[in-house]
Symmetry: C2
């Protein structure tokens, strides 16, 4: 017996996280092919693109065309990201987008200002307007993200009292609106988390939102992504964001080179879960193929591990390999 | 309070594990430079090369010259690997080699035959001769390795009873000689371990060798390397093998491409430990520089994470970065 969840829910972000940081030039057809491959693995939620300023993020300028080009699979949600009312309006005008109303809070001012030109507190206040905006469209608001919940490249470590303060801002918005959050997602936006800080901050979030599921958005920037995921699984966390092939991240944000790792890798996470007898609903072999498709499309070596080594399925089936070179 | 060890011991294997699987052609000067850089980080044991059949592993043919070329640092042990009496004799004839007498046992026959042309049981019996050989030279025998302790690409999963059997072979050699093992190292030779199997097998090894420290030799083949290390640290394991920049592994043993990961990455392991307030004695910034040196020498992108993203030290010191691109 273990204390792991029986199953987890994975929110796939590769198409959005990944192509957002790649140079422009990947076609709608290429990105649609990847989304369709992902939808064929059993993943039930795929973040396809973001509706953001096309002058700043030209890679996402064709988000409407991309949504329209995808041959959808029943039972899969094809979601999008936006940062302001304008982006939301644009996304809402594309019927193929499966809209969701999520709230965003920040644990550090500097990162919040960079994304939103507002302090963390002001941005938290503004979430009330988002509640209203979503409710006017009949969208339930059930999920809230807490960005830079562990550390921030501008402000450093996020001390626990600061995290508590940001979670209190989230709780106030919940208390003062008709929202009842079902999911609270802690985001390790720039890779500061470690397995023990994951445990303690999941605990803090649970203390403050006892009726919500706690989720994690983890990055593998410094190699601790799956160690952090394992620590979270042991705490019963059953909701994770991840990216096929480990796409995404912030390769230009203080990193040494463009090979810096991004989000935790979906297929490596699924492998971890299956090895721990945790269900994911995902066909791992098909997902590894989708990772290799992503690599062919993007044209450089991607950061996942399983995609280069293969899973254990074939080895378990064969149990009769041929000797290769000497391996002391 | 946590249950982590206060400090861990790391046995660096990059120069041997790494160059053993690279094509021949790296010079003694290049490899000596890497060894010297590693010795300057605080690492106290570095496996420099192996004394093996030069026809089969030409990359290691110049092991004697390499040992002689290294400018040694006091307090650091420069060790070697060998697989048979001939290799040991050659290593023993090079005064610069810091000899150690370790025993090797195998949990699967197929892997043992590939390396040693003998069944696991026969090879276990032969370890008695090794005890005698080492004692004749005045070398204490304090360490035993258990190879493919988790799984084997030829035989698949290693069931617990099979591991127990292999550990019993190890215990018999200890009982019937004057050896008292101080270290029992479980090796995940081809990347089959997961955090829960690590916990259970460390537990089994402790049960059977209550007076020994349990160590781990982990591979990051399928991305679980540091999750496995974290699980081990929580069990109080304080002895790890690892390779700078994640060098090493078995890229030709059933893997999809040559980008397959090898041993767990020393600097990523050190980072994990430092974030968990576990001492390593290693200067992480210097070690990251050594990893980048390894990459420059080898000439292709290596698999460590920290080497591409940088540690948190500079970010903690600065706490005053400049905004970069939008990061939703």
């Amino acid at each position: 017996m273990t204390n792991f969840p029986r199953r987890i829910e994975i929110r796939e972000e590769g198409p959005r996280e990944g192509f957002q940081i790649e140079p422009p030039g990947f076609t709608v057809a290429q990105r649609a092919e990847l989304v369709e491959a992902l939808a064929g693995t059993g993943l039930r939620q795929i973040q396809v693109a973001s509706f953001v300023n096309p002058a700043r993020v030209p890679q996402m300028a064709d988000a409407p065309e991309l949504f329209r080009a995808i041959r959808k699979r029943p039972g899969v949600r094809y979601t999008a990201l936006w940062l302001n009312a304008n982006g939301f309006q644009r996304a809402a005008s594309v019927p193929e987008v499966d809209l969701e109303g999520s709230l965003y809070f920040y644990a550090t001012d500097a990162f919040c200002r960079m994304n939103n030109n507002a302090s963390a507190e002001a941005h938290a206040e503004a979430q009330r307007e988002w509640v209203q905006r979503y409710h006017e469209r009949g969208l339930p608001v059930e999920t809230a993200y807490l960005m830079t919940a562990f550390g921030c490249n501008f402000e450093g470590e996020v001390p626990l009292p600061r995290l508590r303060q940001a979670l209190q801002q989230m709780a106030r918005v919940q208390d003062e609106t008709s929202v009842r959050l079902q999911r609270v997602v802690l985001a390790d936006t720039v890779g500061w988390a470690n397995p023990e800080s994951v445990r303690e901050r999941v605990g803090l979030a649970r203390e403050m939102f006892p009726d919500a599921r706690i989720g994690l958005h983890l990055h593998d920037t410094r190699g601790l992504g799956l160690a952090n995921a394992y620590a979270a699984l042991k705490e019963g966390v059953d909701l994770f964001d991840s990216s096929v092939a480990g796409l995404g991240g912030c390769p230009f944000s203080g990193h040494v080179d463009h090979a810096a790792a991004g989000n935790i890798c979906t297929e490596d996470l699924v492998f971890l879960c299956h090895e721990l007898n945790i269900e994911t609903g995902v066909d791992l072999e098909r997902l590894v193929e989708a990772a290799r498709l992503a690599q062919r499309i993007i044209g450089r070596r991607l950061n996942g591990r399983l995609m280069h080594s293969g899973s254990l399925a074939a080895l378990r089936a064969a149990k009769n390999g041929s000797p290769t070179q000497e391996t002391p």
